[in-house]
Amino acid sequence: MTDKPMVRFDKVSKRYGPLTVLDSLELDIHRGEKVAIIGPSGSGKTTVLRMLMTLETIDDGVIWVEGEPLTHMERNGRLVPADQAHIRKIRSQIGMVFQSFNLFPHMTAMANCIEAPMTVLGMKKAEAEARAAELLEMVGLGQKKAHYPSQLSGGQQQRVAIARALAMRPKIMLFDEVTSALDPELVGEVLQVIRRLGSEHDLTMLMVTHQMGFAKEFADRICFFYQGKICEQGPPKEFFGNPKNERTRQFLHAVLEAG
């Protein structure tokens, strides 16, 4: 266990019919690393997160989490497609925050945050509530515990969603365009929470984002996806300061011009 990557995509491909969304992806993400995934729409960047969260199956390759296969399991020394129990075991290390929040609308902020700890981790209600209260406090919503999602702004809902994911104590957090559905004035509060997570918690983070400024400041590495492949990757300074690939330059030019 010298330095097993936290996440490894080992020649992972994903196809929808004739369309190849990801083409033999090879990507290692190290413990505590913060990786921003950027790229034009349809480049497969969201698919990367969705496959890691097991919301999408993969067609080829293997995804590894902390040295253990996620999509497969070992049987008689061979890797075979994983069964549900194995997937659930490995998946428990991963949390995800979605573009459209996906809070449970019939539950309060607190209930959203204690549902999984109680039913999956078997926590007692009091314990789960204490932990959830801490997390809601951390995301600045200590006063909104009893509110339903419909009573919260988009930014607040997204912060509850972050607290909800953290309540499961994941080692890896996935953020899928978490500010894209927000009004511009609410983007900052969500990014602030993510920033804080990054500095205060030992989390490995993968985020698909259109917020170039945030990616530049926050991420350890930027991966630029184009047509199902990593077209260019590197530390933000290098990536933004001196992009090597023509596609990257075009994309950055277009994005920075628009933004």
Binding site: M53, T54, L55, R88, R91, S92, I94, G95, M96, F98, S100, F101, N102, L103, F104, P105, H106, E115, A116, T119, V120, H147, Y148, S150, Q151, R164, A165, M168
Partner: protein, 218 residues
């Protein structure tokens, strides 16, 4: 024409029969609601069952309830399954309406946003917890009116059980008529009873709907 003394005389007998009708309705509907839910859930949980279940549902919906009642009561004994009239009738009502209810549940589940399933997966909830805590509480309130309509429809079909001599309201009214040669009062009373019960049920359904749809104000 209308004999009030006779009306009062037959009321207790009809009231007893009404209890049978209501029992048949309630048991039949619980059966329909539960079996319909099971069909809808199995269809989602085990994808290959979708086709056989939809064939079954279509088969049940496309044949008259009366034939299904006769089938259970008169045909099943030749396969060694003998049911008393009430059981056969209630079972037929339950199965017939389960087919309709399963489609209502299916529509309810289809209306749940994919993100709810995905969030459940991301939180590692089990399939059972996802259904029990996330999907069903959101899917059921909007379909209560549709289920309620089937409750009333099922209730109004209980007179069909008279065809296999279940002593429910219709059968009892018929017997009273044939014994006294007066049909006006018993049949009219049965009609009025169904009218009142249907109106009362509709009011209950509306109340239940309001209760279930209570959402915090924005």
């Amino acid at each position: 024409m209308w004999d009030w003394a006779f009306t009062l005389e037959i009321l207790p007998t009809l009231a007893k029969a009404a209890v049978i009708s209501i029992e048949a309705t309630l048991i039949g509907f619980v059966l329909a609601a539960v079996l319909g839910l099971v069909l809808a859930l199995v269809r989602i949980a085990i994808p290959w069952t979708a086709w056989p279940i939809s064939v079954l549902v279509e088969l049940i919906r496309s044949t008259p309830l009366l034939i299904q009642i006769f089938f259970l009561y008169f045909v099943f004994p030749s396969f060694g399954v003998t049911l008393d009239a009430f059981t056969a009738g209630v079972l037929a009502l339950g199965i017939h309406y389960a087919a309709y209810c399963s489609e209502v549940y299916r529509a309810g589940f289809d209306n749940i946003h994919r993100g709810q399933w995905e969030a459940s997966t991301a939180l590692n909830l089990s399939a059972w917890t996802t259904f029990k805590d996330i999907i069903i509480p959101q899917a059921i309130p909007p379909i209560v009116p549709a289920l309620g309509n089937y409750l009333v429809a099922l209730f109004k079909e209980t007179p069909l059980l008279s065809a296999i001599a279940v002593l429910e309201l219709m059968q009892t009214a018929k017997i009273i008529g044939s014994e006294t040669f007066r049909y006006t009062e018993p049949i009219t009373l049965v009609g009025i009873f169904f009218l009142i019960m249907s109106l009362v049920s509709a009011a209950f359904i509306r109340a239940a709907e309001r209760l279930l749809n209570r959402r915090p104000a924005r």
